[in-house]
């Protein structure tokens, strides 16, 4: 029980420290990459989830809007949107996230020929390989990569490994704007998840 008490004290102090100090803002600023909004061959928007009724998740919508804005600014002639169908939704006839995003892009006036939807992917690694292959068919070599700030570093490594030149275009700046205790805990959780992802991908030899 002494050991449990020690773990509990350490965990409580860590939780309070994480919530009430800017420690994770500092860590997040070190992990994120500065945007490099450079003209590229394509804008690639990574998947982040869709609900059964075809509504994009908050994160997916944020990334989609950011990708659309970059396209409207003329930074690339092609918009690539990815995202699978959750298995249970596929059985119920749910649309893949990529198709939902493509439909939104078309409604926003983007020509159909300028949008590619990639739905047969499940992980960031899948996305990097599939998208790189599709872009290679068009002889596209540079991309603006759109994903959340904490995910960007790992995603960028994968896409560079797939042979593309990648310019980061993060869809948020949470390390800078997370100022409430709750948002700092959220930032901590995102950072820990992505750090775990980096460790896993390095251990598996994917990066």
């Amino acid at each position: 029980m002494i050991a449990l008490r020690g773990i509990g004290i350490a965990a409580t102090l860590f939780f309070v420290f994480s919530a009430f100090t800017p420690f994770w803002n500092f860590v997040g600023r070190r992990l994120r990459l500065e945007p490099q909004l450079t003209k590229s061959d394509a804008i690639v928007v990574l998947g982040a989830g869709v609900l059964m009724d075809g509504t994009l998740s908050h994160e997916s919508l944020r990334r989609t809007v950011h990708g659309l804005r970059l396209y409207k600014r003329g930074l690339a002639p092609l918009l690539v949107v990815s995202g699978p169908t959750p298995r249970t939704d596929a059985r119920r006839g749910g649309l893949p996230e990529a198709e939902v995003r493509k439909a939104i892009a078309l409604e926003m006036g983007i020509p159909a020929g300028d949008v590619i939807a990639i739905s047969q992917v499940h992980t960031t690694r899948d996305e990097s390989e599939e998208i790189a292959a599709r872009l290679a068919e068009r002889r596209s070599t540079t991309i603006l990569l759109v994903t959340e700030s904490m995910h960007m570093r790992r995603a960028m490594e994968l896409f560079e490994r797939a042979g593309l030149r990648v310019f980061p275009a993060p869809s948020d700046d949470f390390p800078r704007v997370a100022e409430s205790p709750e948002s700092r805990i959220g930032l901590m959780w995102r950072a820990l998840i992505q750090l775990a992802g980096v460790v896993y991908y390095r251990a598996a030899g994917y990066t």
Binding site: M1, A3, L4, R5, G6, I7, G8, I9, A11, T12, F20, R87, H122, T123, E179, S180, P181, W189, I193, G197
Partner: protein
């Protein structure tokens, strides 16, 4: 930051009020409060252990299923607040059970 100070201040005030009520109205001692905090920390420690074990088992199961079946299961399934809540319940139940005998 105002949010940090406000939240901590509110909690500090209600904590002091609860302590005063406990001491003055119900005659509780400071020593018993210290014991209660120690038991609370044991509950938190048990919760941390259960959460860690649940996460490790979850990752292992997902990796095994990915390797042995055609079904894909995302790791983000483990990013669910219910896992945290249930781990807390496990930790509390375990701690109460351990101390009951």
């Amino acid at each position: 930051m105002l949010e940090d100070v406000l939240v901590l201040s509110i909690v500090a005030v209600t904590t002091l009020l609860a302590y005063a009520v406990g001491r003055k109205m119900f005659g509780r001692s400071a020593r018993s409060l210290a014991q209660a905090w120690a038991q609370l920390m044991e509950c938190v420690g048990a919760f941390c252990l259960f959460l860690s074990v649940n996460m490790v088992i979850g990752v292992a199961v997902i990796l095994i299923l990915r390797a042995t079946t055609p079904r894909f299961i995302s790791m983000y399934i483990l990013d669910d607040v219910m896992l945290i809540i249930l781990s807390a319940v496990q930790g509390l139940a375990f701690r109460l059970w351990w101390r009951s005998e």
